[in-house]
Amino acid sequence: MTSALELTGIKKSFDGVVALDGAVFAAKSGEVHALLGENGAGKSSLMNIAAGFYVPDIGTVAIHGEAVALSGPADARARGIGMVHQHFKLVKPFTVAENILLANPQRHFRSGIRDIRDGVRKQAVELGFDIDPDRRVEDLTVAEQQQVEIIKVLLGGAKILILDEPTAVLTDVEAERLLETVRRLAQSGVAVVLVTHKLHEVKRYADAVTIMRGGRTVATADPRVASAAELTELTVGQTAPLPDRTERPLGPTLLNVGALHCARSDGQVMVADTSFFVRAGEIYGLAGVSGNGQAELAEALIGARQPLSGEIWLEGPGDIAAAPAAVRREAGLAAIPADRYAFALAGSLSIADNFAVATIESGCYGPPWLIDRAAIRRDASEAITAYDVQGVRSVGQKAALLSGGNAQKLVIAREFSRQPTVVVAHSPSRGLDVRACAAVHERLLAARDRGAAVVLISEDLDEILALSDRIGVMTRGRIVAEFDRPADRQEIGRAMVDHA
């Protein structure tokens, strides 16, 4: 049987940086084909070529055995290739039906939108989605927006469906439901390409897996036969060992949160009566199902959100709940927020500026009346090397051009360059590949060993269990249980879901 989609010998470079170097990929109709690899391995670039967004420098794209030269995404769509991007391409103030009409132009608006509306309803029923075509996209949840993207692509007649890291933005339950749907789609004859770096998804849902590393295809395997260790080895190159833990005596309390209440921007109280403390030399893990107030708590701790009431006490300045963020910075607080481009980086400014902004107040880059640009560039270059931030051609380039993992490394380089005493990290490894993830964890453990108090808020229980000295479980804005290391995974899981 010929492949539905086949890419051979693909090479592609952007401004001299090689993204793909001899990549190969083939997916058959009726299968879920996973594309596995670290951040920056070239998965997204390769699939953007398949979907007509990029033109390869060298190499061929074949659809159902026929070599084609895609002239653009519209051409790819016409040939039955549909891609759902990580960042959705939807017009937020438009309704679902209007968005789908935009991607699939009809001759007449009125009859077109009527047809689309019917099509959406039918497709939604088939896929088991609950989507009202007349709702505005901005009112939909992330999972629903993704469903709209999938319906959009399928209504466009896609027989080859490319999903770029579809589960990165979903909760576990939503992810499972999506992947079940994807399986059913494949059974109906669609070729599904699942771009991911989550091994368990590959093991559970994929019929075949292609593994990429450094812009090359390193292997194609049957995930039901290959072991997880083998797949990891292929993805990472070499397995990164978990850092050893050295036991140290705990120091004094550095951070104390007392009876904290925080509201979401719409007024809903998300953090209600949360209290905990963190001592020098320990990592306090906060586990919980996403949406139980973790985001608001993290924002309150780093100074992005004004709490309604309660205390955030830091060794040194005391209660800083109402103080501006600058005060906690001076006291040595480091912030690693979950949403990097919302709270940690200014994408339109340079890497060097983003690196220097947190420390410049101390006077290390010249007096207030004259900033020392040379020193900023020098320190930024050094930090980029020390923290292994990749994809940097010059420290003067915009921070938005960094990939997710490298942007996170830049944030960490900046935050840890000042030897923080308190670290607040929220989902620090979200969207990162295995190696970047290990690097982040190493930095957190090093900070702890140096005597910092670390708060680790994460929805990833494995991360919490691997790193934390003490674990609090957050449910409905409260800490409902606390566990000492070694904690029992089952008990934590029960605390996360049981509490009414």
């Binding site: 002239s71 519209a74 960042h87 501006p324 919302a342 940690a344 400014l349 410049i360």
Partner: protein, 371 residues
């Protein structure tokens, strides 16, 4: 039929994919530029400006001014007499341009430059009317008072924004009307010129006027240049300027990494008001020599235009302010000799704003026509 292939919507952080040209029938493709060289950027800006000016020339031609006559009038600006009035006009324009540019740099849309000018003029005139301070330092005191007036009026809007979340675009714009009616209240009331009974304040005394300092240069221009120099230093070299870039790029992020957002905003907005207040002062003191009903007229629009054209860079504000003064002085000549209304000059201004605004689109995007 040509249609736009695809418009990338809300690409927040990920660089948007490039669209290759589509073959077949002719088609316009639009993509977002990743980078652009400063030369190309200047070229696009200059090109748009040229198109705007060309349209203006055509419109003026219809209004009865032949392009050749127009060129002659423009050249006439550079004789000593006209140059002197250009330099006098340039001073308040540079100052309002700085006022607008500074506030725009941190994303505070100060459209209340006229109101701040009015209060600058009122405060300065109050110093004159109530004879405050010795004669030797009177002019300095008037300048300080004018700045204070501008600061007061803009900070009122900033306070409403912080305290009640009132959008400053609306508050500053509407406060212009409050200011101008308060001015009329004074000019038709307590401050009316007792000698002439015209609705204007009495003439300033000589030591209250910004005078010529030789070779046709008025000291008003020196005030404007000094403010521009300080602003250029603050924006480009100081730590506050560094912070300002973060406040406009991502205010939430700036707050979290410890940028003193409130303090910097307060200082910059106050500086914006002070510059506008000074503009009011140099205008009344160097040109009219008294508070009039309309000394501030049209300056909010000019200020926005200058900030726009100069991309909020204080150094370029000086150049653009000067060019706009040339436009105004020529416009005055045209009004007198060709009987065109002042609105024509404003029309030319508006055309230039639109041309520059559209150049922004071309700088961010690339349009290609492929067949």
């Amino acid at each position: 039929m040509h249609d736009v292939a695809m418009i990338a919507v809300e690409s927040q952080s990920a660089p948007p994919p490039k669209l290759p040209p589509r073959r077949g029938r002719g088609r316009v493709t639009l993509d977002i530029r990743q980078t652009i060289s400063p030369w190309k950027q200047a070229g696009i800006l200059g090109g748009s400006l040229a198109i705007g000016l060309a349209i203006s020339v055509v419109i003026l031609d219809f209004a009865g001014i032949a392009p050749l006559d127009l060129a002659k009038e423009l050249a006439g600006v550079f004789n000593a007499d006209s140059l002197r009035s250009v330099l006098v006009r340039a001073a308040p324009l540079i100052l309002v341009g700085l006022g607008a540019g500074l506030a725009f740099r941190i994303g505070f849309w100060n459209l209340g430059l006229e109101g701040q000018m009015v209060f600058g003029g009122i405060f300065a005139t109050a110093v004159s009317i109530y004879d405050i301070g010795p004669e030797s330092t009177r002019i300095v005191l008037m300048g300080v008072a004018a700045s204070a007036g501008g600061i007061l009026w803009v900070l009122l809007a900033y306070w409403m924004k912080v305290r009640f979340r009132v959008n400053e675009i609306i508050s500053t714009l509407l406060m212009n009307y409050i200011a101008s009616y308060f001015l009329l209240h004074l000019l038709y009331g307590a401050w009316q010129d007792s000698k002439t009974a015209f609705p204007q304040s009495s003439q300033y005394r000589p030591f209250e006027r910004l005078s010529d300092i030789g070779s046709g240069v008025n000291s008003a221009l020196l005030v404007a240049l000094a403010v521009a120099a300080v602003a250029a230093w603050a924006v480009h070299l100081s730590r506050a300027g560094f912070y300002m870039r973060f406040i406009s790029a991502n205010a939430n992020m700036a707050k979290v990494v410890g940028v003193p957002v409130r303090t910097i905003s307060l200082i910059v907005i106050a500086a914006s008001g002070a510059a506008a207040g000074l503009a009011g002062f140099v205008n009344v003191s160097s040109q009219e020599g008294r508070l009039t009903q309309s000394f501030f007229d049209g300056y909010v629009f000019s200020g926005i235009l200058i900030a726009f054209l100069s991309r909020n860079d204080p150094i370029i504000v000086v150049i653009v302010g000067f060019l706009l003064a040339v436009l105004f002085v020529t416009g005055q000549t045209l009004q007198v000799f060709y009987q065109i209304p002042f609105t024509m000059v404003q029309l030319v201004e508006a055309i230039i704003v639109i041309a520059v605004a559209s150049s922004e689109f071309l700088i961010r995007h690339r349009i290609r026509w492929t067949r």
